[in-house]
Symmetry: C3
Amino acid sequence: MSREAEGVKVSELARVVGGHVAGDGEVVIRRVADLESATEGAVAFVEDTKVISLALKSKASCLIVPEGEAIAGKSCIEARQPKLAFALVAEVLHPPKRKESFVDLTAVVRESANVHASAFVGAHAHIGLRSEIKAEAQIHHNVFIGDDVSIGRRCVIHPNVTIYDGVRLGERVILHAGVVIGADGFGYVRDVTGAYHKFPQVGTVEIGDDVEIGANTCIDRAALGLTRIGRGTKIDNLVQIGHNVLIGECVVIAAQTGISGSTVIEDDCVIGGQVGMGDHARVERGAIVGSKAGILPGKIVRAGQVMWGVPVRPLDEYKRLNAHFGRLPQMHKELQELRRRVAELTAQVGGSNEKDS
Amino acid sequence: MSREAEGVKVSELARVVGGHVAGDGEVVIRRVADLESATEGAVAFVEDTKVISLALKSKASCLIVPEGEAIAGKSCIEARQPKLAFALVAEVLHPPKRKESFVDLTAVVRESANVHASAFVGAHAHIGLRSEIKAEAQIHHNVFIGDDVSIGRRCVIHPNVTIYDGVRLGERVILHAGVVIGADGFGYVRDVTGAYHKFPQVGTVEIGDDVEIGANTCIDRAALGLTRIGRGTKIDNLVQIGHNVLIGECVVIAAQTGISGSTVIEDDCVIGGQVGMGDHARVERGAIVGSKAGILPGKIVRAGQVMWGVPVRPLDEYKRLNAHFGRLPQMHKELQELRRRVAELTAQVGGSNEKDS
Amino acid sequence: MSREAEGVKVSELARVVGGHVAGDGEVVIRRVADLESATEGAVAFVEDTKVISLALKSKASCLIVPEGEAIAGKSCIEARQPKLAFALVAEVLHPPKRKESFVDLTAVVRESANVHASAFVGAHAHIGLRSEIKAEAQIHHNVFIGDDVSIGRRCVIHPNVTIYDGVRLGERVILHAGVVIGADGFGYVRDVTGAYHKFPQVGTVEIGDDVEIGANTCIDRAALGLTRIGRGTKIDNLVQIGHNVLIGECVVIAAQTGISGSTVIEDDCVIGGQVGMGDHARVERGAIVGSKAGILPGKIVRAGQVMWGVPVRPLDEYKRLNAHFGRLPQMHKELQELRRRVAELTAQVGGSNEKDS
């Protein structure tokens, strides 16, 4: 049952997030909200003392504030990272709705499939041959799971997801609606008649623990071997991950980005939206790639670099070049002016030369 | 029943579109077509007298033409906006196919759901707890509708759409196949160990009357509060709308555009395809953003501006800069030539100086 | 039954691909692999003698090598195009899994539909009125097929695909999960009140033989007439094809590319990922368009051209301009230096002029 109905005391929330109470710890909190729209029973957060005037006006019953920034007369929780504390409080107040253990009568579960007794399988879902659905996993309405698939503990697979044969998911993976995992990679070989033949797409996909993948995102199976998404990585909606791509741990990839075959993204990288990466590129640990950037095939982005543009350049250089780009008309004028001056000088000098002669 | 079979007289079509008949009003029309492919029984339109030779050759039984441009010997409808009149005529001749009121036996409708007797619910669809499907709504095959959802009158929800809990649709909304409404927004907070925690995504999505949304487009729920799509707005395929985005009325957004969290697009804007907008940007009323443009986070595009490029600039400036960009090699040559001339001058002047001294 | 279990002799594989055996032709092969991960029973290929050291270390039981490049002591197949031969061998060893002829009891097949006795129709699939599913076609779980659709022989339609009314597919077409074929094109006409009216979208989509279309790709129906994808064309994931687009034969289109209404792409073109094409453009036979390129409405790319950039330019010019772009700061410095020199010269010459007067 949700904690929203009954509510949780500020003192208990403070304990959960490792913060401490300033003011009344007995106040009962039922939901999270932002400062502006908060009403009685809500907790909001103040990440930055710049919004302090907003905080003073807020109707929230409790504020999570930076350490030492408690507001007199308000029930506050002081925390080192108020936004993080707010996220943890939300997990307590609004735990993700979980369906009861149950296999819907309209679901099709193949006999050789192994669905844990604590799992949920929704209406019109399909679980293929020899596939395993582990404890407390939630397979929602109309999910298609092929043969020989493994779905780890406490995974949540939202409606209309398709998981092809042989794909393996770790624990607590969340796939949003419309995600497709394990479709064939895009590889063909042309023969002398001009016809394209499918390059074998007989590898698979492995997704680590605590990965979340946004709606309608596609992750292709490997041609040979493995496409891999590392533990704790978060991928937004409508992203394309090609065959044999290897993505490390705790990588963040924003919406509509596309990553071509065999490219490697190491741990802790942050990739903006609508980025395109050619095949066989490598983005090393902790690098940041700005939205709409383009990375050429085979390119290496070094660890920790911040890269923007098409093709990518270090952010400083990108900004400098863009500034120059914006001054091109002025540069053009200056160049014309110089040509005029030089022509004048030539005439003058030529004239004086004549006099001299 | 479709009007295609029986046909409609030109005079009746003229009345519907507020145009007037020139020529024979008794001709029976059964379908719309373009000028080239039209055959007997078809109506086509002439928006522009430039295509008059095409119009003269057309086998269409009726032409919709600009006022005062009727063609002698042809059955014509004169209209102020011929293309608009053509669209209205098409609504008469080819009304969208509507399913009879019916709940398919294979659909799963939760007991607390409220499906109007005049609605249609297709095979393998799912209607969640307390959700309301209003009069004459069409919920097609295999649509998933979660709990506490509201679907307005005469909505059409095409197959394989997913609507998460709590989403509200106005009247006559059309969602094409594969659309996902209300998946979690993309927001995380990192802790000291480097792990990402989900920022709460507990808001919802509200979609106004007469909105149409293209195939496989995703509209995320708000973190807190509301993601909103205003009345009469039209969104193309594969578009990404982030959490807490607010889109006004009669906005048009072309395919594969992505709009990051909390960005605002006011009424009557036109947004091209593959545009990317950073978070917390604002595009004011009636602005136009060209295809592939990039809008930085926090950027404001003023009302009525026409903006192109990455990052966006006013169209005139964009064109000017692109022209200069294309002349860079020439500019480079001119610069080299000037350096040569200046070196010569320096030598000459240095020479004459010597003579002067 | 898969040939993986029983295996195939090298001599038989050589015969299939038109290569010839060098070394032991009796070796039994069970699967394809790459050079590094190959183990006993696997066949790998060597496209290029640059990887010969990798080939020498490989544990593959058979190598497919260029003609005249057999490795002593290894079982080899010499072939003119080793990668192509490898693809053909993979078709033998790993034929696509085909379901037995069967209509799942949970599928909904309308009475007037015509499903061939040798076809497969999966769980919760839907086949609409008068639709035809031809011999050996595979309609997977939860596919929605509307009315008056035609699915050719040996087509494979993966789960959660949506095919709207009237669409026609040739033979051996593969549609990956989440594909949407035949949704309404994106066309509206605005009236004087500012409201948008749907332009009629009453055409259809026709897809030729041997086309493969990637996951979550959308192909819109024509407004009037036809959207057409030619024989042998391959389209990647998350691609958008607008209404009335005409794509020729053996075209390759990478992921997340978008093609606007009425644009034409002729035979044998190669289109990169995240490309955007405006409406009414034309890409002529055999042209290549680089990733992330932008093609303006109405633009013509000539046969065989290689084009990059936004807006597209010939690749050579694109590279030259990018090089100049990267040197803008240097150009700026040179210009400043020239201005200083010219000012000095002016002073000198002016001085000498004064002396002259």
